[in-house]
Symmetry: C2
Subunit: 343 residues, 2 copies
């Protein structure tokens, strides 16, 4: 009776109607791959237990096109993106909820691949999927699959991480090359024949954030996703009413991403990463933080890329890029997204 | 600078790109209407505080078509649906997260109406929107607007509500007429010219669930949404390995819904409600529970509609409907949804 109709090669509207086929899909596809005995698919709401500390929550929608790309897919990306929002807030991610909007006609095998990938990423990040929901929308009213996740985590009480902690003179760190995710998705989408070995950087940043949390000089962390490093710099400038000075020559960019950007006219500073962290830290602890990151597999290319400064005046530009040849240019706020739908 | 471009009559892709236009949309449209000072739209994750008790979470996606219908819209429905999943689990709903998938071209005025309605419903149910995310998908890849909400609530420690508590002889209660929501959405969708005064029942069921929680004989509650009352009866039968006997003549159905169903050939027992509760309770407390519901504005038509029984044998049908004329018929499990996309 509990069957999602293995003969069905594609998801149909009946897989989302609350009846027998939907129950089969949940029992035979979602539950085994999400691998969590606590995922009681018969209950309206799931109980969770949390360790002591401050509870933090985040939510994110995922609409990446195509659903699979070099280095990942929408399933792993959704877990990593949700985990990362909690991680940069100083929290340990513990639980996620998963809401799926499946377009009628999605190949069942692709759905299974994505759900498997999502489960693997959740295991790797140490989070449990505790509640889920499935809706099937008619053909032509969805992009194959959209996911919405909410993450719940806990951070130490009295955690003061945030824009408000940032001081002039603080140092800006970056954990690794920026823009690889944006370029990987773009290459998967377009028929450029440029694939090579360029892969998305999508990953949990939890090891990176946990490595810096013991440092009392740590002020703020954020992952440079939509809008890239330039957008994070603008968010910091706006949130602190200070200037962010970035040193172009110190910003790590992978050779493959740099050459694709040069060829196609993209600026990697505006492109998304999904496994990097920007951190702001007191100057006296910057080298300690840098060493901690460089000791991690994900942080080998970490670098000190800039500094927070007082604004020179009311019209002072918020973000300045100090170029390799000794000049400086204003790094403008993102207006039109060069590469939409990368997350 | 913080402007969502009031000249824009429709949502564009740039409203979802993480840049200036998206920030304007959040600052000028979402934040004021969601009316929660704790909604820090600049942070990756939001801290929340919870009272003592067991924490429960739920998630739900909303794809109702059309986005507005008599008695509600997708915004209020999303809050009520999420709140109700927590309420029937015995919890007091406290926080929700909100993920929006907006289709390019959605009229800005309609978005504002829906967000306003969502904020009003959240206030009425006593929940705060603590985190949000906005994605804009290209024209032709979304149904105008899809919402995904996650709800977080707290229930008393040691709450034993659930299928496992149900015993043979227990009584099944229903808080009010079923199917009004399904019919209201269907009439809004089709040009039947049958509107009359039929309205969706969408509402928070929190007053109903809180009224029964003090009764130690309360076993289980669920809101009959997708698949309707018949689907809840099947879920109970499956979860308890018992039979559910329903008394057709006792099931409240509003005259307007009954006549539309008779005309168009729908069975109201399979149609969604979004403001009703099915409760299973020990027989000795059934009349107390009924009186408690009938004392509430939402529970005036509450009724005892059935009873849990031992199965007569392996092939015993799970759900029997005892008809007005003294017969009995098997109430089959939902196969094809008569009215898709009602939530």
């Amino acid at each position: 009776m509990d069957d999602f109709d293995p003969a069905a090669l594609h998801v149909g509207l009946a897989h989302g109607n609350g009846g027998r086929l939907m129950r089969g899909l949940i029992t035979n596809l979602f539950r085994p791959h999400l691998g969590n005995p606590a995922l009681d698919t018969e209950a309206d709401a799931a109980p969770i237990t949390l360790p002591p500390g401050e509870i933090v929550v985040t939510t994110d929608g995922f609409t990446v096109q195509p659903l699979q790309f070099p280095g990942g897919d929408i399933g792993a990306l959704a877990i990593d993106g949700t985990v990362n929002d909690l991680a940069v807030s100083g929290a340990r991610p513990l639980y996620v909820t998963l809401s799926m909007f499946i377009e009628e006609g999605l190949p069942m095998a692709l759905l299974e691949t994505i759900v498997t990938s999502l489960g693997t990423a959740a295991d790797a990040a140490g989070v449990k999927v505790v509640a889920g929901d499935t809706k099937v929308v008619p053909r032509g009213q969805g992009g194959g699959l959209y996911l919405a996740l909410t993450g719940i985590g806990v951070r130490p009480l009295g955690c003061t991480l945030g824009m408000a902690a940032i001081r002039s003179g603080d140092v800006v760190l970056l954990s690794g090359p920026v823009g690889d995710h944006g370029i990987a998705v773009m290459l998967a989408r377009e028929a450029f024949g440029l694939r090579g070995d360029l892969k998305s950087d999508a990953a949990s940043v939890l090891p990176l954030t946990q490595a810096l949390l013991p440092l009392p000089g740590l002020r703020f962390m954020r992952d440079p996703t939509r809008g890239g490093l330039a957008t994070v710099a603008h968010e910091i400038a706006r949130g602190t009413h200070r200037r962010v000075n970035l040193d172009e020559g110190m910003i790590p960019i992978s050779p493959a991403t740099a050459s694709v950007c040069a060829m196609l006219g993209y600026d990697p500073l505006y492109l998304a990463s999904e496994g990097r962290v920007v951190a702001v830290i007191a100057p006296e602890q910057a080298t300690t933080a840098l060493a901690a990151w460089r000791a991690l597999p994900q942080g080998g290319a970490a670098a000190i890329i800039g500094r927070i400064a007082d604004p020179a005046g009311l019209d002072d530009p918020a973000v300045m890029l100090h170029t390799r040849i000794g000049g400086a240019r204003i790094l403008a706020e993102l207006e039109a997204d060069p590469l939409p739908r990368i997350c």
